[in-house]
């Protein structure tokens, strides 16, 4: 079984990393955000937006993403000639899968500041999300002045992890750790998480667990890592552990994924009443999110309606919407799954 921390420790060229405790990192992330509230310079506003998105990512708070997007719109209004403002807004739009608008912002930023690398790097992230992998890879590999540095190795790790190229992704993961010069545990926990998701999609659950646990050791409050670890535990036949892990997340998070997972696991255990409660909660929240941000939540909502939500027609509608937005292998696969579920449902009705 792969243990990412053991791998790193066994590499004699590098010493174990010295990192700030994860609880301090989260306290100080909060302190940075609180300290920048009401800030009056565009640079600080951009920092606040980035920090809100980071907190959204770590603590699984969709409300942080929404607030970041609102602030980014306002930032561009007051800093119309500032390339960094457009890069920041593009980043928030990308989070909500508004990819075409995000690319417009990066184009605008590059026109304002042709030598600035930030827009190029962010564009690559969007191209990757859109399934335009060759273009994304070319940008990552040619990023000026970044060769060998942590940011670039980390970006490439994420790229190959999403492709499911496990050997390359793990090699770059170790390279990223070796290049890391910071003391914040947050960037490394995000990397651990990406590798965990990669192995989860490969259904190599022990490896996935190992990476999610590594992420949680670095940052115990990392909600998405906790949630995915819960899924893995359930898949490995440890549903009670999964429920114990997912229950507080489902209560506290405004992301319905945790309630959806909980509903599915409880349903599989035959605890139908509890499952139904969480199913309703997830369904209501997905409906609200799909109404507010259709592009961003079409894929997750489709997965929910395919599983615990038990509505293959709605799943197909949302999966097709997601495929219109980005033509990735995963989007195609989701449509195929939804069609198959509808066919099975139709066949079942005919039999009755």
């Amino acid at each position: 079984m792969t243990n990412p921390c053991e791998n790193f420790a066994s590499d004699s060229r590098v010493e174990p990393l010295t990192l700030t405790d994860g609880s301090i990192a989260v306290l100080n992330l909060q302190a940075q955000i609180d300290g920048l509230e009401g800030c009056d310079t565009p640079a600080e506003a951009a920092s606040l937006i980035d920090l809100l998105m980071l907190r959204g990512l770590i603590l699984g708070r969709i409300s942080d993403y929404e607030r970041a997007a609102q602030l980014a719109d306002r930032l561009v209004d007051v800093a119309v000639d500032d390339a960094a403002a457009y890069v920041t807004r593009g980043r928030t739009r990308a989070v909500f899968h508004r990819f075409a608008e995000a690319l417009d912002d990066f184009d605008h930023a590059e026109r304002l500041s042709p030598d600035d690398d930030a827009a190029k790097q962010e564009r690559a992230t969007v191209l990757q999300a859109l399934g335009r992998y060759d273009e994304a890879l070319s940008t990552y590999e040619n990023a000026p002045g970044r060769a060998g540095r942590f940011q670039n190795a980390a970006a490439l790790t994420g790229f190959w992890a999403e492709q499911g190229e496990t050997v390359t992704a793990e090699r770059l993961y170790l390279q990223s750790l070796g290049n890391y010069r910071g003391i914040s545990p947050l960037p490394l926990a995000l990397l651990d998480f990406q590798l965990g998701v990669m192995w989860m999609r490969k259904e190599r659950l022990d490896q996935a667990r190992s990476y999610f646990e590594a992420a949680i050791r670095r940052v115990p409050a990392y909600t998405a890592a906790q949630g995915h670890l819960g899924e893995v535990e359930a898949a490995l036949g440890e549903p009670e552990a999964a429920i114990a892990r997912l229950n507080p997340l489902a209560i506290s998070s405004d992301d319905p994924d945790y309630a959806a997972q909980l509903a599915r696991i409880l349903g599989e255990m035959g605890r139908n009443e509890e499952s139904l409660t969480w199913r309703r909660r997830a369904a209501d929240r997905y409906d609200a999110l799909v109404t507010a941000h259709p592009a961003a939540f079409a894929d997750h909502a489709a997965e929910f309606w395919l599983g615990a939500g038990d509505d293959p027609q709605e799943a197909l509608r949302l999966a097709e919407l997601n495929l219109q937005i980005r033509k990735t292998p995963r989007a195609n696969e989701l449509v195929a799954q939804a069609r198959e579920a509808n066919d099975m449902r139709a066949a079942s009705v005919r039999r009755q």
């Binding site: 010493e15 174990p16 010295t18 990192l19 700030t20 405790d21 609880s23 301090i24 306290l27 100080n28 909060q30 302190a31 940075q32 955000i33 609180d34 300290g35 920048l36 509230e37 009401g38 800030c39 009056d40 310079t41 920092s47 010069r181 910071g182 003391i183 914040s184 947050l186 960037p187």
Partner: protein, 374 residues
């Protein structure tokens, strides 16, 4: 917060991001020297020190090696250091702040324990320490500084806007009986550093003089040699007392270029470059440590008085160093733009929300969170 956000790497680790260093004789007792390191500018109520960082004061005896136009210091080889480290917080205090324990390792190996925000701090023989969140003592109008640099014209308003008004920092205060605790003197060079803890601590950031990295080194556009180089991370990684010769020319070129720009803002040249193409202040500013004469009594305004006296070839009369309430931005813009004797330049911001007091731990209590204040 003169050094806040002084390089991209520091952005990721706010608790390791040094904003200011102060050094002054104790206003309460001239036998004591006080050193203050501020980190994590604009920090919210939950801010704490990192458990992965060593917060270090380094002190060396220093001599005046030359006076007149070639004025220079030579720092001694002997050095003492005070290291501060912190635990992971444990619970929350009645004020709502995290409870965090810390310790100061003195040069002779003693450990002084304390709890952050406790105004009594910790004490050992001849040493008193405090760490915690306090009101930001620095004040400046960042927007007008940026506008001045962008337009090349002085843009300060008669009544400026303090960018740091009502904000808080994390501070470490070290008060020591210098004749007992230090070697040599009474002239000392002081720097502070943050280091990633571990078997071989790695320097994250260092700070000596105020506004070297931001106001003096950050602007790239005037530097014809290294226009594309973000020089500050490299500069931060250097040993203040032993800067690598390989990179010194890059720092010098950047400093010359930026000081030359400032000098030209008022349309006249107050600082003609020497025969080697160097600005007269470049060398002394790149000796990037605070110099303090511990034998002199406390003074309200004393930063750079030792250096100025060296250039003038006369004995200094103040302790030098840097007191918390000095209007540093007025001083530096007057110096850089108008020279030693030019008309004073006022940035329109004359004080912070609360001035520091003359009793331990000196910095004003932290400001309430903005929502509470509202």
């Amino acid at each position: 917060m003169s050094d806040h956000f002084s390089g991209p790497r520091a952005l990721a680790d706010p608790a390791a991001d040094i904003s200011d260093l102060y050094a002054f004789p104790s206003p309460e007792d001239p036998r004591h020297l006080v050193l203050v390191m501020d980190v994590f500018g604009k920090s919210g109520p939950s801010a704490v020190f990192s458990d992965a960082v060593i917060y270090r004061f380094r002190i060396r005896p220093v001599d005046i090696a030359a006076t007149g136009p070639e004025a220079a210091f030579v720092a001694g080889k002997s050095e003492i250091a005070f290291d501060f480290t912190f635990d992971v917080p444990n619970g929350t205090s009645v004020t709502g702040r995290p409870v965090q324990h810390g310790r100061c390792l003195t040069p002779d190996g003693r450990i002084i324990s304390f709890v952050i925000d406790d105004e009594n701090g910790g004490a050992g023989e001849g040493v008193r320490v405090f760490a915690g969140q306090r009101s930001e003592p620095f004040f400046l109008d960042v927007r007008m500084i940026e506008k001045t640099v962008t337009t090349g014209k002085l843009s300060f308003k008669p009544k400026g806007s303090d960018t740091l008004f009502g904000t808080n920092i994390l501070t470490i205060v070290l008060k020591l009986e210098w004749a007992k605790a230090l070697e040599g003197g009474p002239l000392f060079a002081v720097v502070c550093e943050t280091l990633a803890a571990g078997k071989r601590p790695v320097r994250i950031e260092r700070l000596g003089r105020p506004e070297i990295k931001n106001v003096s080194l950050s602007w790239k556009m005037f530097d014809q040699v290294n226009k594309d180089l973000e020089i500050r991370d490299l500069y931060n990684s250097e040993d203040a007392f032993d800067v690598k010769r390989d990179y010194f020319d890059a720092y010098r070129e950047r400093m010359n270029a930026n000081l030359g720009f400032y000098d030209g803002i008022d349309g006249k040249i107050d600082w003609p470059f020497d025969q080697h193409g160097n600005h007269p202040l470049t060398k002394i500013l790149l000796a990037d440590f605070l110099v303090i004469d511990a034998s002199k009594p406390f003074a309200e305004t004393s930063y750079f008085e030792i250096e100025r006296s060296m250039f003038a070839g006369r004995p200094h009369v103040t302790p030098g160093g840097r007191w918390l309430n000095e209007d540093f931005m007025d001083f530096i813009f007057t110096l850089y733009i108008a020279g030693w004797n030019g008309p004073p330049i006022n940035d329109g911001v004359d004080g912070p929300i609360a001035f520091s007091s003359k009793s331990f731990p000196y910095l004003a209590p932290r400001n309430p969170p903005k929502d509470a204040a509202a």
